[in-house]
């Protein structure tokens, strides 16, 4: 339990540095630190599949963000004028969010940490090997029981890649 708290505090520290540092490159590096600590946290929480996916995605995200940072000459932080309004908005958000989070964690039936609700996934755990033939239950859920979700994911992925290609295309249409 203690290593989990340490990892979460390291994530909070890394994200604070990513938000408050002045140069954009160090902000991107701190964000990547948060992602890698998140990968270690996933390993600690006994989810190796997510950890593998997270570390690959993290490296790709780091490369993409460094490409974006290298675009601009200006790397310093930009100071705004209407800081007061933003701070008031943030405090209001935090108060409302904290209130609802407190309500959800105390009064509504909410699973305690370490005791998951297994209403739907009990069926997956019992029948996964028999019905889909995959020893890894995550694979059987992604590709077997919830295959339509995966189809939707691939559609979104295709749309996003297509949008990226269209936006970054060098030659535009002639008028």
């Amino acid at each position: 339990m203690l290593p989990l708290y340490l990892l979460l505090f390291l994530m909070i520290l890394g994200s604070l540095v990513a938000v408050h540092t002045r140069t954009l490159l160090s902000a991107v590096i701190s964000l990547s630190l948060v992602g890698l600590v998140l990968c270690v946290t996933f390993l600690y929480l006994q989810t190796p599949d997510i950890a593998i996916t997270q570390i690959i995605v993290e490296i790709v995200a780091l490369v993409i963000l460094i490409r974006a940072v290298a675009t601009g000459k200006e790397v310093s932080d930009i100071k705004g004028k209407k800081e007061v309004f933003s701070l008031v908005a943030v405090i209001a958000f935090i108060v409302i969010f904290g209130y609802f989070a407190y309500q959800a964690l105390t009064f509504i039936e909410f699973p305690k940490f370490g005791y998951p609700l297994m209403r739907v996934s009990q069926f997956y755990v019992e029948e996964g090997l028999k019905k889909t033939g995959s020893a890894n239950l995550i694979t059987s859920v992604v590709l077997g029981f919830r295959a339509y979700d995966t189809l939707g994911e691939v559609t979104v992925l295709f749309a996003a890649v297509l949008g990226t290609l269209v936006i970054l295309r060098g030659v535009g249409r002639k008028k």
């Binding site: 989990l4 708290y5 979460l8 505090f9 994200s15 938000v19 902000a27 991107v28 964000l31 948060v34 992602g35 998140l38 996933f42 929480l45 006994q46 989810t47 599949d49 996916t53 995605v57 995200a61 993409i64 963000l65 974006a68 675009t71 601009g72 200006e74 930009i78 705004g80 933003s86 943030v90 958000f93 935090i94 969010f97 904290g98 989070a101 964690l105 699973p111 940490f113 005791y115 998951p116 297994m118 996934s121 755990v125 019992e126 996964g128 890894n136 239950l137 995550i138 859920v141 992604v142 919830r146 979700d149 995966t150 979104v156 996003a160 890649v161 949008g163 990226t164 936006i167 970054l168």
Partner: protein
């Protein structure tokens, strides 16, 4: 208690999105929020002294961690990298046209 630390990470990302004026800092804030939500879903499925949900001869099924949030988070991580690439390409285009990342100076309507 552990869920509240997760909420703290989410709120740091929210603060970054609302307050910062640099458009790349906003992208970084969105990425932090995605991390927090993924971590929260995985924490919901954790079981004390659980083992990974892979069927073997020796492990009993009662000790498995919840496989359903893991499968959905796997989907969400892959989608988040695609949307990050889309946001970053928009930022690069905006910088080519306006020569700045400052969102207070990006206000011409002319395409």
């Amino acid at each position: 208690m552990i869920f509240f630390l997760c909420f703290v990470i989410f709120l740091i990302g929210l603060y970054c999105v609302i307050v910062k004026k640099n458009i790349l800092k906003i992208v970084i804030g969105i990425a932090i929020m995605e991390y927090a939500v993924n971590l929260f879903l995985i924490l919901l499925g954790y079981r004390w002294e659980g083992v990974p949900a892979i069927v073997t001869e020796t492990v009993t099924q009662a000790k498995f961690v919840d496989p359903l949030p893991q499968a959905l988070v796997l989907t969400a991580i892959v989608i988040s990298i695609a949307t990050l690439a889309l946001m970053v390409s928009l930022c690069i285009r905006i910088h080519q046209r306006y020569k700045t990342f400052d969102i207070t100076k990006i206000r011409r309507l002319k395409g």
